[in-house]
Symmetry: C2
Subunit: 205 residues, 2 copies
Amino acid sequence: MTAPTAPDLLALDRAAQDLLFRAARTANTFTDEPVTDAQVAAIHDLIRYGPTAYNGQPLRVLLLRSLDSRARLLPHLSSGNRAATAAAPLTAILAADVEFHRRLPELYPHRPQAREWLADRAARVEQARFNATLQIGYLIVGVRAAGLAAGPMAGFDVAGVQREFFPDGRHEVLLLLNLGHPGPATPRERLPRLDTGEVIRTLDD
Amino acid sequence: MTAPTAPDLLALDRAAQDLLFRAARTANTFTDEPVTDAQVAAIHDLIRYGPTAYNGQPLRVLLLRSLDSRARLLPHLSSGNRAATAAAPLTAILAADVEFHRRLPELYPHRPQAREWLADRAARVEQARFNATLQIGYLIVGVRAAGLAAGPMAGFDVAGVQREFFPDGRHEVLLLLNLGHPGPATPRERLPRLDTGEVIRTLDD
């Protein structure tokens, strides 16, 4: 009798493991097939259940669908990200709402004082950024759950994108994300991942 | 004919949607059933494929299994988090390795200059924190993929935990996570989630 392999120790079935993690790849090219508003809503309806501190849910998403809106983004991207973004069926700007605490009386009703705990702006910005980033992790999983590929991009002028798309000063831009069906280009070989022993240590060992 | 509901628009099957998001709940009580090292390794073997910038994978995990190691953590927790943490079969300290760039020549071999781009410590700390937080999002999904419940905790003295467990100055502690099988306590009613229209906007609309 052989020991169960890692995939067999999980409750999640193997096809879902492949869809979300093992076979999923970051996409840099996309087909022309659109990503519909209904698909985006279905992704959000799934990942909105992921946990955040104070149930604050600070992630906000601005979708750029038209050529006009995309043209406003491209000058702020590093050159290596422009072609993929111009060709993707949909690009999302992912930001944290630093005024998320205003909703806490509804979202965290058993602790109405939570809103006051976050009165200090610097502490609140840190909370907003951290929890919105967690939610981006859920979102990337959710995009894959819809059978789509995600193309996250960190190579852009954050201050420029913020000025162009969020002049209100209420949002902190965190990441850009292209969404679509992956194009026919063969992705490069998968980059190496760290072994469990390099990432996880038990204090008592 | 009726329009498909949100769950039916996803490629991920309904049971997996429930396991990872819709039926999953944050746990504050746990049964005595242990979380094995093999389960932890299986979770990591799944979520290590989640994308990070430069494939840098800065998340590091310190597991506290024994009563002795747990006793070193408890004084740093807010009072509301102590009982759950003392009783959980396993507690993880989640941190970002701010020297993650040293591994880039192996992890991102097609751009050997990436290590030099991250020579500035302040920029690197920000990258380490952001990408490790994304990985925590994947990890919470992965814990649920193993059929376990996750109990993330932000209410603790970060500087104190860092001094106690990571005196090397190389790691930034981000979050604590209890893992286990959820206890018999009925969780409170699920807290409300924001609607898609409150979170996602299309620029062109």
